[in-house]
């Protein structure tokens, strides 16, 4: 049973009067617990694909099914609910709320969900801050942190609602390679620990190497899909 199913999806952008095809007849199934990397040259359609899977954009043709729900049939409100409860986002440029502290940023999705006591929220937030190694900065504002630290906060924010699916569009692009490596390790650890499905895009071969599966996109089409875990096993590692 796959958590994401993209079926014959095309996406055209209008640039003035010219049609820019960003995705052409893309089909992709992502299973629960995968740690999937999307790779491809700039402009190949990685962000577009993630946006469609993340229900923040709608396809021109085809179906996107997330957690068993056909997204085309959902209202704007229901899509927002789906994002809130099922999907976690990690952005390339972190996108934290600048006027809230690290703690409050991570707590925010729980407040949007509602239904938890202050104590329950605090426990969960602190546990996650601890897991991503940023607990001592809980009271700081994002502007007081380094890029790597901010991305850790963003990961904690994406995971705090225990989503089934986490989407990350080039999460390491704004970080140096060592910090980027640490962030990927952290995501991988969360993937292993909770079985959360991760889909992330990247240009960086070192980052791709951590993935359980690698999907290559070229010119809006899926060029290949490799099962890296299987390859690793076959290679005797």
């Amino acid at each position: 049973m796959s958590i994401v199913s993209v079926e014959h999806v095309s996406k055209d952008y209008m640039l003035g009067k010219t049609v820019v095809p960003a995705l052409r007849d893309v089909s992709l199934a992502v299973g629960k617990g995968e740690f999937l990397s999307i790779a491809g040259p700039s402009g190949s359609g990685k962000t577009t694909l993630l946006n469609l899977v993340g229900c923040v954009d709608t396809p021109t043709a085809g179906r996107v099914i997330v957690a068993g729900q056909d997204t085309a049939r959902l209202s704007e409100r229901a899509l927002t609910e789906l994002r809130l409860r099922t999907i976690g986002f990690i952005f390339q440029s972190f996108n934290l709320v600048s006027v809230l502290s690290v703690f409050q940023n991570v707590e925010f999705p729980l407040l949007l969900q509602g239904g938890q006591t202050r104590k329950e929220r605090a426990e969960r937030v602190l546990a996650l801050l601890d897991a991503v190694g940023i607990a001592e900065h809980a009271r700081h504002r994002p502007s007081e942190l380094s890029g790597g630290q901010r991305q850790r906060v963003a990961i904690a924010r994406a995971l705090v609602t225990r989503p089934a699916l986490v989407l990350a569009d080039e999460p390491t692009a704004n970080l140096d390679s060592e910090t980027g490596g640490n962030i990927i390790d952290l995501m991988k650890e969360m993937n292993r620990r909770d079985g959360t499905t991760f889909i992330f895009s990247t240009h960086d071969p070192k980052v791709m190497a951590h993935a359980s599966a690698l999907v290559r996109i070229e010119d809006g089409r899926i060029a290949s899909r490799e099962d890296l875990d299987a390859a690793r096993l076959a290679g005797g590692r």
């Binding site: 962000t47 993630l50 946006n51 993340g54 923040v56 954009d57 704007e76 409100r77 927002t80 609910e81 994002r83 809130l84 409860r85 999907i87 976690g88 986002f89 952005f91 390339q92 440029s93 996108n95 934290l96 709320v97 600048s98 006027v99 809230l100 409050q104 925010f108 999705p109 407040l111 949007l112 969900q113 509602g114 924010r157 994406a158 569009d169």
Partner: protein, 435 residues
């Protein structure tokens, strides 16, 4: 959640201190102006109505006109004790009643002359007279003696008379001949604005003698009610009651009696006695219109200034939304509903609105308090115009709260449109917008 919302709104405001200080300051200035102008108008109105309802009119008056020929008119109620009986029987709301003679005469001193509207009073039966009049020279009690008159300072100055000086009054009687009477100045009172410009008080019987009237004749019966708000109801009831008692009663018309005397009544085709029941608002109609005009001007001024503030709010929010596009997109992506985005921007403006109007009210209260305490005397010309001697703000908490809340509400309404645009931002912008 509301706590976090408030925190976000407050901190976003604080993030752009300069432009929000400017906007909040403008809002504060408009609020302060509105509150101060309102308090000034209310101060004038209250000062005027307070002295007027003692000196010029009751809450309800039963006056009347007597016409010997259809082309003439005198402001008289003949056989007033019988009218008074009906009044007392039918108006249980009454606190006390006074009886006033009405007249108009030329006052001649050794040096000059001037026209005076005369009210014939029986000081012994005027319970609030001494509260409203500040006698600066002479004695109010002396006005109970025949042949005496009370002038206001301005009149005394113009006529160049002092207490115990004698004036000659010359008045046209109902029969068309001029009567004269010599009267002694019993007291001189401090000016009470517009009223003191033209009206003076004379002992009631002396006024009757001047016009050659019987003791059962007077100008008007003033009714003072326990609650002045009852006036229109009481007036309506009295009209019916007096008509039932066999009197001819005039149709209600919101004009002071002397306007009717000069303009409408002499051209009406009837003779004999008619009664006219009026309220304080009728008698003070022109003053009320002046106050109304003042309020309209104030309102227009505030509306114009508010338009400027609203444009400022629209601009500021447009900038804030552009600056925060990516943040809004990210929040929408992680599951914030559109309504919530709208709410956050509206809350931010509401906070600014309440802080701004609150500051404005505080400034206005401080200014009004200081001015009232200082007791700044107005120049004479302005005194007549504003109907008061000192600049005085009357602060009504209800009116002030309404002013502040209305202005804050306008600010919030102005915020709704740009905030709706923010709420419609697509969450995709979080990824695409490079800022």
């Amino acid at each position: 959640m509301i706590g976090v919302d408030l925190m976000i709104a407050g901190r976003n405001l604080a993030r752009h201190t300069r432009r929000n200080l400017f906007l909040g300051g403008a809002l504060a200035a408009v609020t302060a102006l509105l509150v101060l102008l309102g308090a000034l108008t209310a101060g004038m109105e209250s000062a005027m109505m307070q002295s007027a309802t003692t000196l010029m009119t009751g809450h309800v008056n039963v006056g009347g006109f007597f016409k010997i020929t259809s082309g003439s008119a005198a402001p008289l109620v003949s056989q007033y004790p019988r009218v008074l009986e009906t009044v007392r029987a039918r108006v249980p709301e009454v606190d006390y009643v006074t009886v006033r003679g009405r007249g108009w005469a030329k006052a001649v001193s050794e040096h000059v002359s001037m026209d005076l509207v005369l009210a014939g009073v029986d000081v012994a039966h005027e319970p609030t007279f001494r509260k409203v009049l500040h006698v600066v020279e002479g004695d109010l009690e002396a006005l109970s003696q025949p042949g005496t008159v009370l002038l206001f300072e301005g009149q005394a100055e113009r006529l160049k008379v002092k207490v115990n000086d004698v004036l000659t009054l010359s008045a046209p009687t109902a029969r068309g001949v001029n009567n004269t009477a010599d009267v002694r100045v019993a007291a001189i009172a401090r000016n009470v604005g517009l009223l003191s410009a033209f009206s003076a008080f004379i002992q009631a019987d002396t006024l009757r003698q001047l016009y050659g009237l019987s003791p059962a004749t007077t100008g008007a019966i003033h009714l003072y009610l326990r609650d002045p708000k009852d006036a229109p109801r009481v007036a309506a009831r009295l009209r019916t009651a007096l008509a039932e008692a066999g009197y001819r009663v005039m149709e209600p018309e919101a004009q002071p009696y002397w306007m009717k005397l000069m303009q409408t009544v002499p051209s009406e085709d009837w003779t004999g006695q008619k009664l006219d029941v009026t309220t304080a608002d009728d008698e003070m109609g022109q003053f009320k219109q002046f106050i109304l005009a003042l309020r309209v001007v104030t309102g227009l001024l505030v509306v114009i200034l508010m338009v400027v503030v609203v444009i400022g709010i629209l601009n500021t929010l447009a900038i804030a939304i552009r600056e925060r596009t990516r943040e809004i997109g990210a929040l929408r992506a992680i599951g914030m509903q559109r309504r919530k985005v709208l709410w956050l921007f509206v809350l931010e403006t509401a906070l600014l609105g309440l802080l701004g109007t609150g500051a404005g009210v505080a400034v206005a209260l401080a200014v009004a308090g200081a001015v009232n305490a200082a007791g700044i005397a107005l120049p004479e010309a302005v005194q007549v115009f504003l109907a008061q001697e000192r600049l005085r703000f009357l602060l009504d908490p209800g009116a002030i709260a309404t002013d502040a809340l209305v202005l804050a509400a306008v600010a919030v309404l102005a915020a709704v449109f740009p905030a709706r645009r923010a709420a419609r931002l697509k969450p995709v912008t979080a990824m695409h917008h490079v800022g």
